[in-house]
């Protein structure tokens, strides 16, 4: 008898054949009719010819050739990946201890306070947060004023309109998304496992390294993947804090749509999707192999 043997089907098959399309149909038709149609038009446009002022429906694939031969786009891709890797790295280094610290709080009021501190910025728009970082990091802003007052610097330090500024603000925007998956896995971990390790004579460091850390790996992995993908898709933060000096794919896509160069924008969009989906696919594969390796050892 299989695992589902005990369950009886909820409705007669005939009723299901009538009701199910009615339930799922509207959502599926909506996605096909708007999202997939739009993506289809984008895909077709990627092959078209751009005269310099307008798009001609002539299949030339020249935007692809341009994208893959002009070294400018290689540097944009490099910038894109570098921003995502650096941001994800910092988010994990900061986010893991933060999630771990929250699990160590005993008083309910302090737990609520910690949740508010870490997650409440999600309630404000990314534009408000980017503007906040401009106020803090700009030439006449708070940090430069404080540094000058303390006589630590002679002239203002350049903290915005460069890679540093974008990274500081992007870590701020994405940190809640890093903390959440780690925190939920840590909270789900059975506390008796740690107690058992301690009873068997393990030190706190050993308990962490041999019990807590390996068990939290799925959360760490989910956090890394989510943060990385969100960093690659970021538009508002690089636009407002990059000052045109941090060129990433999302910025180019908007720029080229505005310049009416839709074929190039479409190729960049396809490149972004390919980059994001490949990352997700490969990391899923690596994760599964790693889990299998852990399983074999036991």
């Amino acid at each position: 008898m299989n695992a589902r043997g005990g369950l009886r089907p909820p409705r007669a098959p005939r009723a299901q054949a009538l009701v199910l399309p009615g339930l799922l149909g509207p959502a599926v038709v909506f996605i096909v009719g708007v999202l997939l149609t739009a993506l289809g038009i984008l895909l077709v446009n990627s092959a078209y010819h751009f005269t310099g002022t307008q798009v001609q429906p002539r299949v030339t694939f020249e935007a692809y050739r341009h994208f893959f031969t002009d070294p400018f786009y290689a540097s944009v891709l490099w910038q894109e990946v570098r921003l995502a890797v650096v941001t994800t790295g910092i988010c994990l280094l900061v986010g893991y201890p933060v999630a771990y610290a929250i699990t160590k709080i005993r008083r309910p009021n302090w737990v609520i306070a910690a949740y508010i501190l870490i997650f409440s910025p999600l309630l404000t728009s990314s534009i408000v947060r980017a503007y906040g970082w401009l106020v803090i990091l700009a030439r006449g802003g708070l940090v430069n004023w404080a540094l000058a007052e303390a006589h630590l610097v002679g002239s203002p330090v350049r903290l915005v309109f460069n890679f540093t500024g974008v990274t500081i603000a992007l870590v701020h925007v994405l940190l809640p998304f890093t903390v959440f998956p780690i925190l939920s896995v840590l909270l789900r971990t059975d506390p008796t496992l740690r107690e058992a390790a301690a009873d068997l004579g393990a030190t706190r460091l050993q308990t962490f390294l041999r019990v807590t850390w390996p068990l939290s790996f799925p959360g760490l992995y989910a956090a890394a993947q989510l943060t990385f993908v969100l960093a690659m898709n970021a538009y508002v933060t690089p636009q407002l804090l990059g000052g045109g000096r941090v060129q990433v794919l999302p910025l180019l896509i908007f720029e080229n749509i505005s310049d009416l160069n839709w074929p190039l924008a479409a190729v960049e969009a396809i490149a972004l999707i390919a980059l994001v989906w490949t990352t997700m696919f490969v990391s899923n594969l690596l994760f599964r192999r790693r889990l299998a390796a852990i399983g074999d050892r036991e």
């Binding site: 909820p10 610290a101 929250i102 409440s120 708070l142």
Partner: protein, 270 residues
């Protein structure tokens, strides 16, 4: 208890406090900057002014953006909740071979990068006359909310189980009556959360809106985004401070609900 007072734990809490400050810093300094008399928002403040708050009322884009955002977010929420709940019911209550495929398919709107979705929608909308319209915005935002509604509602339907529905039908209620009188009321908390998600998704949306709004027909985030790129005076800090104020009120309400006696009883009963 004494074990939690060792140096490592205290160091961890100190780190948590520092990160908390980092998380709040931009919100605090935006609020301070909204009273800054200097047009360039320089520190330290040379005084205190309410000028930028008056200015917020005088920027017509903010007022029309606010109205537009409220209408679009409400419309998108209604569409996303209606379609998402129907789909969730189908996914949670029926077993069929392509179920996982359909579920993944319904997640597509959030798997496609928002900026790509925006560019694609623009190319579609200029062909069908939806570019720069409220309907276009509602449809785009509803698509983005749909996966959240579908996931949250499917989860609450699965936790609920189908015993109550079966009991209602055994007592003679037809499927439609059962759905509206038993299923919907039982999953109300899940529906409220998913509606909130859909609303906030639309309310804060930038990347998709950017492509499909006209200058005359902006949402509030787009009006703020454009203002930021053109002026950069503390008017933006003032409107941000107002929005932060709303968020603070929301947090306080949520905390008071969490700590209220009725909620405690509700949680303990379950």
């Amino acid at each position: 208890m004494s074990g939690s007072r060792d140096p490592i734990t205290i160091a961890l809490w100190a780190f948590l406090g520092l990160v908390g400050l980092y998380m709040l810093a931009p919100l605090i300094f935006v609020t301070i900057d909204s009273f800054n008399p200097s047009t360039y928002g320089t520190f330290p403040l040379a005084g205190v002014t309410l000028h930028w708050y008056q200015n917020v009322l005088q920027v017509p884009e903010f007022r029309s953006g606010l109205v537009n955002s409220l209408i679009v977010a409400s419309g998108a929420t209604v569409v996303a909740v209606a379609l998402g709940t129907l789909a969730a019911y189908g996914l949670a209550r029926y077993r069929f071979r392509q179920r996982e495929l359909v579920r993944s398919f319904l997640l597509l709107p959030i798997i496609v990068p928002a900026i790509v979705f925006g560019a694609a929608l623009f190319l579609l909308y200029i062909r069908v006359g939806l570019y720069g319209t409220r309907t276009g915005l509602v449809l785009g935002h509803a698509l983005l909310g749909l996966p959240f509604v579908m996931s949250i509602t499917t989860a609450s339907l699965q936790t609920l189980g189908r015993e109550y529905e079966e009991a209602a039908m055994d007592l003679g209620a037809n499927p439609l009556v059962t759905f509206f009188k038993v299923t919907i009321p039982s999953i109300r908390p899940g529906l409220v959360v998913s509606a909130l998600f859909a609303f906030v998704t639309s309310w804060d949306q930038v990347e998709v809106s950017l492509f499909i709004t006209r200058p005359r027909n902006n949402t509030l985030p787009i009006a703020m985004f454009n203002y930021e790129q053109n002026y950069q005076d503390p008017t933006l800090a003032a409107i941000s401070a107002i929005l932060i104020g709303f968020a603070v009120v929301l947090v306080l309400v949520a905390v008071s609900i969490l700590k209220s006696q009725e909620y405690r009883k509700l949680v303990e009963r379950e």
